[in-house]
């Protein structure tokens, strides 16, 4: 009897935990008796195969259904409750968010320079699953995409206006203005610099720091330690085998809740904004019919993308997205105030670094409106998104070293944000200051990008590209989000039957439509953002887990 094998990689002699060979090359597997999928139920209701984590799927489905029904039925009662919860978080607990986010950024930056940066995700000999271009496009499209479209123009302009207005005190001696730090009353150049620094601060290291922490801890614990790819695995160094019980269920359910409601409500609100844009540009009626059609369209394309899978669906769509965004960026740089943008990139980067300590200071802030209303709001938002984005990033990052991972997830996107915000912000501010155009400032928030493009050449084409980008950015968030929810509710399995991921994408669209027509989109989005607080704590545990996990890994040569 002849024996032959087509396995092109010879077995590594190293053993991980007992009886289980290490991942590709030396790595240090965690020794556990838990079998991934042991708590799953497998069934074929109506001829459709499913493979789900019984508790996580059941409880999160019931909670989601309950929240949707409650919000629809008692909108007037629920909205103030969610609002009060969220405003308590951002006013009283601002320091928690600011301090937490600083910890994430500092740890991520420090790790780049330590020997731990040499550890390779997936074992010392693992090779990357994606090219740099495909990998980076997916990171970026899942991470912020859509926000850049809306805030690229409106945020620098908003901060510029408040900074120029300077400090104003109310009767109680507290500041009533919304300017960052001490403002720049009457100082035009100072206001521009401050507004750009503040904007980049919100789109720079800190959001990506949160994503990097979730992504890196999950990647290490899945690919190097052999634990399932779900949020609970981060807690292994703290809770040990208890993560397979209720503490773990709770973390996963919370992640499903934050991701699904985050996606569904942004889908609803995003459709409102896209529809406003379509109405403004092409006079398409801004009605419920348009909104529902938009959501249906986005859902259908997202469905196609998840059916094609990560490689051929999500990756290609993300690359298309990057290509279009790059074209729009280059166009704005070319026809906008090119020289100002070019010098602005360096000035703003310096200004960001210079103002970073003051802007990120968690205590003793005098600019309460700015630090609570803007910064804490953003931080809660990024952190609530981080389970979804982080998990997706983890899934596609096997084969990269920790250093490579952190540079690509933290440093490169920050620089990209600097360029993007500078190009769009400078062009808009230039229109206001040097060309005396005030329409952009006066326009509704969601129309400011289009109003700015109107004052540049080729308006019809660029605005159309803008709308397409808004929609495609939604699709790239929606498809990766559905994959993440599916894998959490399947107990960390990424090879569960296809109909499950279809189910989540459909639910997302259905919730968006129900809340859009029944009201309560904003309320439920607020509810999703409140998960930012528990996840700040989860991420802090993640920081500990990363260090603990990396310390026990053999270094790559």
């Amino acid at each position: 009897m002849a024996k032959s094998t087509n396995d092109d990689k010879p077995q590594e002699p190293q053993q991980g935990s007992e009886g289980i060979p290490a991942p590709e090359g030396p790595a240090n597997l965690i020794d556990t008796d838990y079998v991934i999928g042991q708590d799953n139920i497998k069934a074929s209701p109506l001829g459709v195969d499913v493979d789900l984590h019984s508790t996580v799927f059941m409880v999160s489905s019931v909670v989601i259904l309950l929240f949707v029904i409650l919000t629809l039925a008692m909108q007037a009662q629920m909205e103030p409750i969610f609002d009060a919860m969220f405003s308590f978080l951002t006013t009283k607990l601002t320091w928690v968010f600011l301090l937490g986010a600083n910890v994430f950024v500092i740890l991520a930056l420090v790790l780049i320079f330590t020997p731990m940066g040499k550890v390779r995700i997936g074992g010392a000999h693992a090779t990357p699953d994606f090219s740099y271009a495909g990998w980076f496009a997916m990171l970026f499209a899942a991470g912020m995409g859509i926000g850049l479209m809306f805030y690229g123009v409106s945020e620098p302009l908003g901060h510029y206006g408040t900074a120029l207005g300077g400090v104003s005190l109310g009767e109680d001696g507290l500041r009533t203005d919304w300017s960052p730090l001490g403002g720049a009353g009457g100082d035009q150049a100072g206001a521009v610099a401050l507004s750009m620094a503040a904007t980049i601060f919100h789109w720079g290291l800190h959001p990506w720091g949160a994503y990097a922490i979730v992504g890196l801890s999950l990647a290490i614990f899945a690919y190097n330690k052999g634990l399932p790819l779900t949020m609970r695995s981060i807690f292994y160094p703290v809770l040990g085998e208890r993560i397979w019980g209720w503490p773990g269920h709770l973390i996963d359910i919370l992640a499903v809740f934050a991701t699904l409601f985050g996606l569904a409500t942004s889908l609803g609100l995003g459709a409102t904004q896209a529809s406003a844009g379509l109405n403004y540009l092409f006079g398409i009626p801004d009605s419920n019919v348009t909104l529902v059609l938009l959501i249906l369209g986005i859902t259908v394309v997202a469905l196609g993308s998840i059916m094609l899978g990560v490689d051929k669906g999500v990756q290609r769509l993300s690359q298309l997205n990057m290509g279009l965004a790059l074209l729009l960026l280059l166009f704005v740089i070319a026809v906008g105030p090119t020289l100002m943008i070019a010098t602005g990139v360096f000035e703003n980067l310096l200004g960001y670094v210079k103002n970073l300590p003051a802007l990120s200071m968690p205590f003793g802030r005098e600019d309460a409106n700015f630090s609570q209303g803007w910064t804490a709001f953003y931080w809660a938002w990024w952190i609530a998104w981080s389970p979804f984005v982080g998990m997706f990033i983890a899934r596609v990052s096997r084969g990269r070293t920790v250093r490579e991972f952190l540079i690509a997830v933290l440093v490169v996107p920050t620089l990209a944000s600097v360029v993007w915000m500078t190009a769009f912000g400078t062009t808009a501010i230039d229109q206001v200051i040097n060309q005396g155009i005030t329409e952009v400032q006066d326009a509704a928030l969601e129309l400011q990008l289009f109003t700015m493009l109107e004052h540049l050449p080729l308006t019809t084409i660029t605005s159309f590209v803008g709308i397409v980008l808004v929609i495609v950015f939604f699709i790239t968030s929606s498809d990766s989000g559905s994959l993440v929810i599916d894998s959490i509710t399947a107990g960390g399995k990424v090879d569960a039957p296809k109909p499950q991921r279809v189910f989540w994408a459909l639910i997302e669209g259905a919730i968006a439509i129900a809340l859009l027509l029944g009201g309560g989109l904003g309320a439920l989005q607020t509810a999703a953002l409140t998960t930012g607080l528990p996840f700040t704590l989860v991420l802090l545990v993640g920081c500990y887990a990363i260090v603990k996990g990396l310390m026990s890994e053999p270094k790559a040569k």
Binding site: K3, T5, G226, K498
Partner: protein, 142 residues
């Protein structure tokens, strides 16, 4: 007539693939052919194995065990994918060329209405390869 039979296996669902294993063993004996067992797995830890290497070892052990049953030469090939469910058909079609198989024996589920929107993997593989494909229904034993 056939020199190398490729048998895609799902180590998580051995009971489902049992009939196709039997068919492939019979045909291997009949044509004196080699059997190559192909397993497609996720890069992430799963229910069968926590690392790709562990999966490869289990697959090879499985192939050897099957070899004891039918007495023909065996080999195994593990393929690691980020999204194995979505990429299954592509991966298998590519694997047919790589292992130079001239016959594929694979399990397939009974026809159902969902096939209209999500066609069964077996029929998709058959329509995209020049090798012969034998689809075995799960109740073929009965």
């Amino acid at each position: 007539m056939f020199n190398k039979i490729m048998v895609p296996v799902d180590l998580a669902h051995i009971e489902v693939i049992e009939p196709s294993l039997k068919v492939s063993a019979d045909m291997a004996r009949h044509y004196q052919a080699e059997v190559c067992y192909v397993g497609v797995t996720a890069t992430t830890p799963g229910s069968v194995a926590r690392t790709p290497e562990e999966y490869a070892q289990k697959l090879e052990a499985f192939a050897q065990q099957r070899g004891q049953v039918h007495g023909q030469p065996v080999s195994s090939k593990m393929i690691c994918r980020v999204d194995p469910v979505a990429d299954l058909v592509d991966t298998l079609v590519k694997a047919i060329d790589e292992v130079e198989a001239d016959l594929v024996v694979m399990p397939t589920h009974a026809h159902r209405h969902l096939d209209i929107v999500m066609p069964a993997n077996g029929s998709q593989v058959a329509s995209r390869t020049s090798a012969s494909v034998f689809l075995v229904r799960p109740d073929a034993n009965e």
